[in-house]
């Protein structure tokens, strides 16, 4: 609660600034009552529904989204327009749009924020997207723990239905759409699209083996598109202003704006809407965004896109190995591959100051993935538990030097050998933490007592930054 108050305060503060950052999704977030249909419509809500349903053909909408260059905001960053155009359209079969609101990645809380404060943005996006895909039934699969958001969405859907934006013959155009909210059981794995579909069908949330992809055979073996909340909400400004206008924002193939959930040792953590391409340094230190590291400490490491992406030490998170400034974009953050890069992922930006223990953090992430592994395929089921146990041993001072290489090897055995990306997500944080902070792991082995009492600090990542060639070795 405290955080939310804090956030709305911050956001009103930011919007008062003269040089205001562009906002597409969160433009009216601080308008009182924006969660109701009336206020939302007064601020231009549901314009895109009228425009899309009355003046555009479904294919034209898909083209518009393609032009916009919008990429999936859930983590993988797959171009949305392309995903939509892959949807099979066999005769006599229903098609479905499923909104993935099972946001459970540690460090990511943007979708919950969006759904809490502007639920109609999601519903508006759902209507337009469903129309574009020819879906007559759509689902919003919400994580089970988010009961308040489920109620908010259900209320908003009821409002939209009363106003004629949902149900039969929407706005007299002859298009029918039923929108349902489905609570999940509260499992991280149900954020994986095929596990989500299984769960939606009422089964155990085990990921399916692909192919066939959901675009061919998804919910009840019908063609299905699964999109993240933010992706669907971003369709609204694309339709309102046109895909070309949207594509002008951002940098390169990373177009548009992105919600970033900033957390960790920052002065102003919270949800920020940024233009893709903002330098990481600016995002952390400028007053417009996170306002620097809390308590005047120094930055040690950054997890740029939610717990599953590789962790980066301070120097590599601000600059790439080539010495270029690291930007908040799909390409720039993954510059250098897994050797010296990371990923934008879902935008769960976690900053660590010099007092944080990387080993403990890695153990914490490993514990999460161990707990959340569905247990279907062996490398992930057994490997995540193994990594957690070894990391626990290291953190609590019983580690051995060989444990570090063991972890690297186990992570390598899991990565890429599993049915779904959860195995990769479990392996990457461990592998990258050891790659970049091996000396800290070794210190935990050589000084077990000391490691219990104090933290390792910055070591070679202290200012001034080490030569980048050293790091890239």
């Amino acid at each position: 609660m405290r955080k939310e108050n804090n956030l709305s305060h911050l956001i009103s503060h930011i919007s008062n600034l003269v040089k205001m950052a562009r906002k597409l999704l969160l433009e009216h977030i601080n308008v009182p009552g924006i969660n109701t249909l009336d206020v939302y419509r007064q601020h231009g809500g549901y314009r895109s529904v009228e425009k899309a349903l009355k003046t555009m053909s479904p294919d034209a909408i898909v083209e518009e989204v393609k032009t916009s260059g919008l990429r999936g905001r859930g983590g993988a960053g797959f171009p949305t327009g392309m995903k939509w155009s892959f949807l099979a359209k066999p005769e006599g079969k229903e098609r479905y749009l499923v909104c993935n609101a099972d946001e459970s990645e540690p460090g990511t809380f943007k979708d919950r924020y969006l759904m809490t404060y502007i639920p109609h943005a999601l519903i508006e996006g759902m209507i337009v997207s469903s129309f574009a895909l020819g879906a007559r039934t759509s689902y919003i699969y919400v994580r089970g723990e988010m009961m308040p958001q489920i109620r908010i969405l259900e209320k908003a859907i009821a409002e939209a239905k009363n106003a004629g934006f949902l149900g039969k013959n929407i706005l007299g155009t002859g298009y029918d759409l039923e929108l349902y909210v489905q609570p999940g059981g509260g499992a991280y794995i149900c954020g994986e699209e095929t596990a989500l579909i299984e769960s939606l069908e009422g089964k155990r949330g085990n990921p399916r083996i692909k192919p066939p992809f959901p675009a061919i055979s998804g919910v009840w073996a019908c063609p299905t598109v699964v999109n993240n909340v933010e992706t669907i909400a971003a369709v609204v400004p694309i339709i309102n202003d046109g895909g070309e206008e949207y594509a002008k924002i951002g940098i390169g193939r990373s177009t548009g704006t992105k919600l970033i959930s900033a957390s960790g040792n920052l002065n102003k953590p919270g949800v920020y809407e940024i233009d893709l391409g903002v330098p990481v340094e600016e995002f952390i230190y400028s007053d417009e965004y996170c306002g620097g590291i809390a308590n005047g400490k120094r930055l040690k490491a950054v997890v740029a896109g939610g717990s599953s992406v590789p962790i980066l030490p301070a120097n590599l998170s601000l600059k790439t190995v080539n010495g270029e400034s690291r930007l908040m974009s799909y390409e720039s953050l993954s510059d250098g591959g897994f050797q010296s890069g990371s990923m934008l992922g879902s935008g769960g930006f976690i900053a660590f100051d010099e007092d944080q223990c990387i080993v403990r953090n890695t153990w914490n992430f490993a514990r999460f993935y161990h707990h959340e592994s569905c247990g279907q395929c062996s490398p992930c089921r057994e490997g995540t538990g193994w990594m957690e146990k070894v990391l626990h041993r290291l953190e609590y001072g019983h580690g051995k030097m060989s444990d570090i290489d063991l972890l690297v090897d186990v992570a390598r055995k899991i990565e890429g050998n599993t049915i779904c990306p959860l195995g990769d997500a479990a392996a990457w944080p461990v592998a990258s933490a050891i790659r970049h902070f091996r000396d800290e792991f070794e210190w935990h082995v050589t000084n077990p007592k000391e490691a219990m009492d104090r933290n390792y600090g910055l070591a070679k990542y202290a200012d001034p930054l080490p030569k980048l060639e050293e790091v890239s070795q």
């Binding site: 569905c374 247990g375 062996s378």
Partner: protein
Amino acid sequence: MSEKVKVTIDGITIDVDPGTSILNAARQIGGDIVPPAMCYYSKLEGSGGKCRTCLVKVSKGSEKDPRPMPKLVASCRTGVMDGMEVQNITSPEVIEARKGVVEILLINHPLDCPVCDQAGECHLQDLSYEHGVANTRYEFERRTFERIDIGDKIQLHMTRCILCYRCVYVADQLTDGRQHGILGRGDASEISTYIEKAIDNDFSGNVIDVCPVGALTDRTFRFKNRVWFTKPVDAHRDCPTCKGKVTLWYKGEEVLRVTGRKDQFGEVEDFICNTCRFETKNTSDWVIEGPRQIAHTSVISANHYEMLPLPVIKQNQALIEANKIEFDRASKI
């Protein structure tokens, strides 16, 4: 009849029907290039893809799209494409990954083979012997479960389970009314008959046959004998519910147990009913056909039983080169 597609596995080309999985194409070739399978069961729809022991490298996707696949793929669930090239034992990457999977499968396995009824016909034993390493790097306590009796004929010992889901598919596809599934998740997940409800169905005993390890065992056979001391004999009877084609396992004059007839890949030819499996254990109930042929690699074949014909590799130069180990073994015998 649609046209055959050409697939090359470890340098050996074969024409198979479209839609065949890589694993089944490899089984049609035979020999050492067949990837091991712990969870795939050709008679159970939807099985496979879980154990990851059958991972192979696709070095050429197809004739139309020759790009290699970026990751190793589960051969049991990946269909062949025309012109596909697959590497199994010729790819060090695959060998390495498979070693990893074997180690990972074994970290929570109790390795209580000396007291396990499955020993001697255990797929995990074969797998770790053929593809694993001799030691483990796992130094923590292994997960354990209490033994559960599923009815009066079957016992579930979850500690040994590798969660292949085969028994779940049997319960789903062979019996009516699903009572058998998975509870929990991650390494704490366990097979359950829906809060220990006994499976009373004519075909429930087949879960014993499909179990690749000793997690599901026949309570009428438990601790009676080691399988390699018993003598397998094919027999049949006129059964109203199933085909009645079984293997009887003799010790002297006594029939110790009855199972389905397992082929060289450890899969039963026909599922049998519980009456055949548990109730009819006298020679007089059966028409004896003759000794069961057992793969020459199996410990059960030791000494005195008829073996499956040796692999055909002696006649084929390409096979000899791709199957060095198999060839050495075959020429020794």
